[in-house]
Subunit: 262 residues, 4 copies
Amino acid sequence: MTDSRVADWWGTAVSRIEPNRVELRGTPIQDLIGSVGFGAMIWLMLRGERPTDQQTALLEAALVAGVDHGPHAPSIAVARMAATCGVGLNNAMASAINTLGDSHGGAGQECVALLDEIRRREDAGEPLPAATDGVIAEWRGRGVRYLPGFGHRFHSRDPRRDPLLGLVDKAVAEGVVPGHHLRAALAVETALNRGRSSPVPMNIDGATAVIYAELGFPAPLARGLFVLSRSVGILAHAWEEIGQGRRNKGPIPPAILPTYLG
Amino acid sequence: MTDSRVADWWGTAVSRIEPNRVELRGTPIQDLIGSVGFGAMIWLMLRGERPTDQQTALLEAALVAGVDHGPHAPSIAVARMAATCGVGLNNAMASAINTLGDSHGGAGQECVALLDEIRRREDAGEPLPAATDGVIAEWRGRGVRYLPGFGHRFHSRDPRRDPLLGLVDKAVAEGVVPGHHLRAALAVETALNRGRSSPVPMNIDGATAVIYAELGFPAPLARGLFVLSRSVGILAHAWEEIGQGRRNKGPIPPAILPTYLG
Amino acid sequence: MTDSRVADWWGTAVSRIEPNRVELRGTPIQDLIGSVGFGAMIWLMLRGERPTDQQTALLEAALVAGVDHGPHAPSIAVARMAATCGVGLNNAMASAINTLGDSHGGAGQECVALLDEIRRREDAGEPLPAATDGVIAEWRGRGVRYLPGFGHRFHSRDPRRDPLLGLVDKAVAEGVVPGHHLRAALAVETALNRGRSSPVPMNIDGATAVIYAELGFPAPLARGLFVLSRSVGILAHAWEEIGQGRRNKGPIPPAILPTYLG
Amino acid sequence: MTDSRVADWWGTAVSRIEPNRVELRGTPIQDLIGSVGFGAMIWLMLRGERPTDQQTALLEAALVAGVDHGPHAPSIAVARMAATCGVGLNNAMASAINTLGDSHGGAGQECVALLDEIRRREDAGEPLPAATDGVIAEWRGRGVRYLPGFGHRFHSRDPRRDPLLGLVDKAVAEGVVPGHHLRAALAVETALNRGRSSPVPMNIDGATAVIYAELGFPAPLARGLFVLSRSVGILAHAWEEIGQGRRNKGPIPPAILPTYLG
């Protein structure tokens, strides 16, 4: 007999497992396999209900956009180095995913929080430009130098911004999402660019934050969703590295090592 | 100027990043966002080419099937416990993914290897039943007690088997996949059940291994794909746990703790 | 030839490696092996200079005190579960160490920060009791319910408190450490217990925080040192679990599983 | 009341925790704090009994020798990169420790296994040189190109070899350890160097493997002990990196990045 205290401690609304039965979010698994795509399954697992096809398409666009940004990103470099150390592919992925912290994987989460603050001021009656300036001033006052989701140290204009925002525009026009967070993000962009010769456009974290927030995901899940997305690139790079056969790969090629550390 | 030795050391065919340009597997990111779903993107990143819609559907069915098997699985329990310890969501996910090792996340990989061995014997001219018996005998001889992908300690018949194999059947009929690995897996099932009153049917690892192998993924990627799949459940459980507000959750409810450790 | 930008990027004062030469903190490794104990080596690596024997003894006492608190702690439970999943011992340890976050492994670090704040008020001329009350009020005002380093959900009096503080007392008497953080911690204890029937004594995190702070370690290293300490217990438990031969151990014994998840 | 099945599932001989009581390996914690050094505590936790001072000194020498080999080692590079990504110090350490896999952290473990095989042949009556040649031939026959514990891609003579083996020699002379594994390791070295102009001397993994094996640790603990040792360097490097204030550090300095990835 089960101890009810144990059952409470490990109770969950996510899944229910009985002999010969697996229910996820209340639906038997056999009714999901073949009927629900992977993006919709992610939504269902995180929110407990199924998305529409249009919601799914928007979510998947954001997931596609974030899969990879090359081996200079710490997460990808760590994945490739770890993959050469004699650990499982899952371990190499874990070492990498583990680096998607506040500054590497958390910008989307923080950007959703930023946009939510602007939205709350709007809801309290402030016009959007004033709400935006007010929130930016607050963040600056807290010592935040780079607003999360805006500007990129490598791209003067992030090539992922326009296609993502174009999809949000379309979704707003079709009534799929309300558009409030999109407008807030554009207002931040406008405010940041005021009086600057080199603009600070929205980056991948900002554009995906708009999508996640428009779709109703709370801020912390912006990081969770980014982890799911970037895991694809992490796996692809770890796998490629394994195929190259290096052993205990360091950050610097051995050819220039002797003097480098000397 | 770039040192070419550095460029070689970190060179990759997965992605190419230049200022204001992100190419993944040779395609500019703006041509992928909104055009390619998440499942197809996973395929493209791992293999360098785009799948057909039918291939994508089969891949996504396998990814959907593996997302979760409840908090008794070590990976999910670890995710939930870690999420209460004051770490980021990505860290909780990493601790969990890290446990998807040879025995927890590697059965699919080993099952692909098992089926590949049978296939090689077939290619060398052995009839399928003989090839199957031969390979099973070899694995038994190496001390393998439970063949990877068959039998389940909890389900006498894994509810994910039939819908997954049904989709493979259909894909074979439509010429999407050749069906060799499916037949090999069914031959193993037949051989295992011969003379037994309680059958040892294919489990989730076996059924997804069939799909991954039929789609042409090498064995190690069966584990990589399972990691992507199970990460969804890991995230959903970690997120639910955070919402419950526990702190430093142990495996056993504190109510029964004092005497338990005494 | 080495690129100097690469050398700068990876430059370090911790170690210098040349062919047939390993220098750690400026000392050739052959002058350390056999001459320096493990505790002194930890000090040297973190601070760049060698400790006295008395400093080493105090540091090692704190490291000894924190190695383990049983399998109900998430870190230990995670280590044991991960060790059954077919991963390397280092992977099981990593999954566990990864859970030593803000609430599980960070209390020592926060306690050092708390004591530092009191010390700064004292330095500015406030008497210790007023400084203590002021800082406590500030932390309470920020919503902190449990002051880090005080009280224990399991022990009404943590058995590690007295022996650790006794060693600090002795070290103060011998002039090894100044004693300011000890006095601040005792002042917090006094303030917390004022007017309470059940006292809230210092716990392991508080007592070790006193030692680390008295020895001059900055707050974040209190967490780093705790990781080194708890890693010993994590390894011991993972190793014991491996010896027991379970496979994919969940948090709940399978004997009570069928109905638990049903 | 405790469920005995739960108590069995989480039962351990490592620690026993009751209210106001912490026992490690049967000894109350208050009898260990201040009486036992950190090295002896590591031994006690792993083996259940206390070492002699001479055993402790030998163990600590091995732990000291392995703490660091510079930022080109993947583990150290990963620690430094992870530390810049906005994660906790424990998370940066975990990502790094996670890379100490079969090829990066497992050579000591494999070397103990190698020496154990030679010892077993000796016990069965083979003379040491024949036993050594036989085992080497077996490993070569299995495709092992580099014997674990011998040779170094960077050092022609590992500077940690002589001081470590000198300590073992002394311990053998004093009757602290039997010397069988030392002789086996030297026999391997002799066999490997036979007829070679450039010798392949024992490296850090080999020399520490000799110590761990002489002290009676089973092979897998050679990896566990190396993790404890290298964690010190991992922490020192992560901490130094944090002090340098970089954000999302990649493997290559940004100054040479634009063309590198182009």
